[in-house]
Symmetry: C2
Subunit: 148 residues, 2 copies
């Protein structure tokens, strides 16, 4: 997924095997620049920029999308989880299409620094993403879907 | 709101004037330890620990709760927003009751460090919270509700 394009259209057509879950309104896939193993995104299929612009069908189904994908990640990586959404100017968001980050967490992961946990999701923070290939992301998606 | 107690029960009874929005399933109020001005929490009225434990009524109404409170914050503070949920062991969460942080963001706010944005939501990060009185929080809640 290239940043700056509409991630839904670009990613779905090019990377069907990165998809881990979908419903009529939402689709979930691996983040191309993961902070930790299993870092996934949930995207609305119909373009929305800010969370305040969700229509009724999207609003009603968003909670279940988050719950279902969280459950898949919990079964794969354990119970720790960060859900994060950034919207609008000043939020340090780099794509103007609503996207929900789901980030598996565990004690001692790379977001922990000793006994301090730092959330350095923002790309501007300079925190180094994992260096993964597309093949590795595809096999991660397979693991989450339970296809392995 | 003291951390370690059920924040919904404790806060609603003691701090009705900190409440900014509610529905049959959810209630939103000011965070007692704000990271920035307008930092609010959305809590399920019925106890849930992990997001994967939401029941159907809670799942269906969560998206709208986030959308509505986001809209109030956007009208009060501008469009920048961070929505953040931490669940389960290893996530650096300090209360075992599901809570959704809504944090107004803008360019140059205290989460920006020059041109780097750092999200230091975790209490373990050592990032200093705003020093506010309960009266200040009450008048912040009034402003968001549009009562002023």
């Amino acid at each position: 997924m290239k940043h700056g394009r509409n991630p839904t259209e670009a990613s779905i057509s090019e990377n069907k095997d990165m998809v881990i879950w979908e419903s009529s309104q939402w689709i979930a896939m691996m983040d191309r620049y993961p902070i930790v193993e299993g870092h996934a995104l949930i995207l609305p299929k119909k373009h929305v920029s800010h969370i305040t612009d969700l229509d009724e069908a999207q609003s009603k189904s968003m909670g279940d999308a988050i719950r279902q994908v969280s459950l898949m990640l919990k079964q794969t990586y354990g119970q720790g989880l960060l859900v994060s959404i950034k919207c609008g100017k000043g939020s340090a968001r780099t794509i103007s299409h609503l996207h929900i980050h789901l980030i598996p967490r565990k004690n001692g992961d790379r977001l922990w620094d000793g006994n301090r946990s730092r959330i350095v999701l923002d790309r501007t923070s300079g925190f180094k993403r994992l260096d993964v290939t597309e093949d590795e992301l595809r096999s991660e998606a397979k693991k989450i879907r339970g296809d392995l």
